[in-house]
């Protein structure tokens, strides 16, 4: 991994059109600004990983009959509480 040292208000370019700015540093927290084209999605890593993993789980591994899902919904009993 490339490691660069930057001060507040200094930035880093990734390619031609992604700019990362160090906005503020307080204690162990760093505020980061990101300028990126709109087709580049920017997310916190944890959130990104969580959703990616859920999508992987959701991708069908077997044939699913929507009728079965529908029936499951209809026949389910309300849960107490």
């Amino acid at each position: 991994m490339l490691v660069l040292t930057r001060k507040v208000d200094q930035s880093i370019m990734i390619g031609d059109n992604i700019r990362i700015v160090v906005v503020d540093v307080r204690g162990d927290q760093v505020k980061i600004g990101i300028d990126a084209p709109r087709d580049v999605m920017v997310h916190r890593h944890e959130v990104y990983e969580d959703i990616q993993a859920e999508n992987q789980r959701a991708a069908l591994k077997r044939q699913i009959d929507l009728g079965v899902l529908e029936r499951t919904l209809r026949e389910s009993k309300p849960q107490k509480g």
Partner: protein
């Protein structure tokens, strides 16, 4: 000029897809960013539909309209997201939640934190992440639906009460 039918062997069987219905996902679904073309396969009389990849016939998702699970569900898009899908009017958009179906079907969950938004007019789609902690990736579909029905019942009772009070005034 005319449209063409594309035939695709999928987990859902043989699909005949009208080329004009193919939705382009400029960014792709998270974790599947190499695929950009999808089609929504609706089933009659079902709350569920399929989101089928046109690039990989093996890749399909079950989707559901989130308001069936949470009647107050709403998505607020930021400027970049609106531009990405070239949205002119919210009415042009359809919102879906991706459903995860475990071994026990009754435990199915829906991801309300990262809905799929499709602009039916421009045929552009994307999966967006809703900021904040209002929604997460695993809402139990059945539990939420019952809660939803209960809330709506309660609301209509309150409404009835209000109407009765108004009548008696």
């Amino acid at each position: 000029m005319g449209w063409e039918l594309v035939e695709l062997q999928t987990r859902l069987g043989t699909l005949e897809v009208d080329e004009e219905k193919i939705i382009h996902f400029p960014v792709g679904i998270l974790g599947f960013s190499e695929y950009h073309r999808y089609v929504v396969v609706e089933q009659e009389d079902s709350a569920f539909s399929f989101l089928q990849s046109m690039d990989d016939p093996e890749l399909s998702f079950v989707i559901i309209m989130p308001e069936l699970v949470r009647s107050d569900y709403s998505v607020q898009l930021n400027e970049e997201e609106i531009e990405l899908l070239q949205i002119e009017s919210p009415e042009d958009c359809k919102v879906y939640g991706i459903v995860t179906i475990p071994e026990n079907v009754a435990d199915m969950t829906v991801n309300l934190q990262a809905p799929v938004v499709i602009n039916a007019k421009t045929l552009l789609g994307a999966q967006f992440i809703i900021p904040g902690d209002r929604y997460h990736t695993k809402h139990n579909v059945i539990a939420e639906m019952h809660k939803n029905a209960y809330e709506m019942q309660k609301q209509s009772k309150v409404q009835e009460g209000v109407e009765k009070m108004q009548e008696s005034v």
